[in-house]
């Protein structure tokens, strides 16, 4: 005895952009916490500073474009972009680098293309790539995590002072990242490097941070913010290609698990490649999109000029996303075959 008849679709939550953005921001918090645990207050200050700037720039452009402020600021997309960029930046990066990055991300990479939903490239990654090209010194100055530091981490006040240029980053605090260490191993073989490098034998901070991002990603998968296709195919292809090369020549290439747990692999797989605006949308397209990012990451990490490759790989594949969608159009129910590619008449 059915009393109430409700026809489909049975939605039980709002479909607003702000809802999704809030979920994703929430899911980055474990990663942010892990970063702060190992690197001190820097990442938190960066994230807050970047979010404030992002809202400011977004509001300024919206004002110029005569758009309603409350509606567009309320979808939190600017804050999410700020979060993703700030999480990718080194922990004690000077404030002006962050400012330029947020300006490029919000004003150039997002609003100049027409705002949320119109941008062909991931705004945070455009900003990251630009900063990496423009300020290589500041962008590669990673500080050491607490476990590898002789002294204590800078306190909150000192962190603020370092970021805002009142205090120099103390000597001995900067350290190459694991990927840089491996890239610049010189004449050493892989085995010699693993035996001699204290950094590579103390990867725990990076592994913990990656695990935290993975946790956030799994939360988003469970909440069905996105499907499994992109993260799984990206991590799978990276694991596969790294495994093949490692099996063939272990003294020249890093082990596959190393590739998964250092650098921005997890952040990229669960938070950056999955951006619904700039990724492919059909399921088959998503699989190709993710797998290609994984392969590109491996290629650029090993044979490119830069130690990490998430930004470049994601941007290159953003470029192909429309074509992927064009050629992987799914069959609609009740129709025989989808018309893919150039329509055959």
């Amino acid at each position: 005895m059915a009393l109430i008849h409700v026809s489909s679709p049975h939605t039980n939550r709002s479909g607003k952009a702000g809802h999704v953005m809030r979920q994703v921001i929430l899911a980055t918090l474990p990663g942010l916490a892990a970063l702060c645990y190992y690197f001190g207050w820097g990442p938190l200050i960066n994230v807050l500073f970047a979010s404030g700037l992002a809202l400011l720039f977004e509001a300024a452009v919206l004002k110029l474009r005569n758009r309603p402020l409350g509606f567009y600021l309320g979808d939190l997309s600017a804050v999410l972009t700020a979060f993703l960029l700030a999480l990718a930046l080194p922990p004690y990066i000077p404030w002006w680098v962050t400012t330029i990055g947020i300006f490029v991300a919000i004003v150039i990479a997002k609003q100049l293309y027409g705002g949320l939903g119109q941008n062909p490239f991931n705004p945070a990654m455009i900003a990251y790539a630009l900063l990496l090209i423009a300020f290589p010194v500041e962008m590669t100055r990673w500080s050491a995590p607490e476990t590898l530091l002789e002294g204590p981490l800078p306190g909150f006040g000192d962190s603020l002072a370092i970021i805002f240029g009142q205090l120099a980053l103390p000597d001995g605090v900067t350290l190459a990242t694991p990927l840089e260490t491996f890239k610049h191993k010189g004449g050493l073989t892989g085995e010699e490097l693993w035996a001699s490098s204290t950094l590579l034998n103390n990867l725990e901070p990076w592994q913990a941070i990656s695990l935290a991002y993975l946790l956030g990603g799994v939360y988003l998968l469970v909440r069905k913010v996105y499907t499994w296709h992109i993260p799984v195919s990206m991590l799978g292809s990276l694991l596969l290609i790294a495994g093949l090369f490692y099996a063939a020549d272990p003294s020249n290439y890093a082990p596959p698990l190393f590739h998964l747990t250092v650098g921005a692999t997890m952040l990229g797989a669960f938070f950056i490649a999955t951006d619904p605006v700039t990724a492919a949308t059909s399921n088959k397209g998503k699989l190709i999109f993710g797998a290609s990012i994984g392969i590109l990451v491996y290629l650029i990490r090993n044979w490119g000029n830069y130690p990490d490759a998430i930004a470049f790989a994601v941007l290159l594949m953003n470029l192909t996303a429309p074509f992927l969608d064009y050629y992987t159009r799914p069959r609609t129910y009740g129709h025989k075959q989808a018309e893919r590619g150039i329509a055959r008449k």
């Binding site: 630009l130 090209i133 423009a134 300020f135 290589p136």
Partner: protein, 237 residues
Amino acid sequence: MADSSRPIDWSKITYDGLWHNNPALVQLLGLCPLLAVTGSVVNALGLSLATIAVLVGSNLCVSLIRNLVPDTVRLPAFVMIIASLVTCVELLMQALTYELYEILGIFIPLIVTNCAILGRADAFARKNPPLPAVLDGLMMGLGFSAVLVLLGAMRELLGTGTLFADMQLLFGPVAESWKLTLIDDYRGFLFAVLPPGAFVGMGLIIAVKNLIDERLKQRAKPVSSEPAANKRVRVTG
């Protein structure tokens, strides 16, 4: 050929070349050198002068032989003329400004393939007498150069914080003191000096041009819409 019968509008040629039909901003021709060598004012100016010289010379020559060359083989003939002029300019630069010639490198010979030059030869010079053709070449060249130098100045200022650095490469030792350091202790913004900075700068210049055109159009509108408003009053009344 349909020249001589039409009266020549000298000011229209000038306006077209400098603004309305600017080769860099509207026709978007010759983007390769435009984006590649505008890292500094001196590079931009060097390539500008070379381009103006070739453009004026090629327009003049093409206009002079316009009645002698059959239409079917006109393009090879134009390219031959442009190529020989570029060779002259290249040798001249080698003799007079060797260091700048070294810096500009491949982009001097590549002026041959600058579509703006072949475009003006085919679109204008072969249909017009020598004098208007020369003026068209000069104005198109100046319009192109203005954008080149502006972009060079923008990128030099943003990239290195200076203006008119190394002008002695072009103007001799007199120009050594022309360098203006506008921002002291500038860290440098490498992005502006690299090719992506050229694309962004170019986009901004085109946007500003479109904005000015839009403003001009709006300013012109009220004058023309007034009679229309009057008419409507009459119709309804």
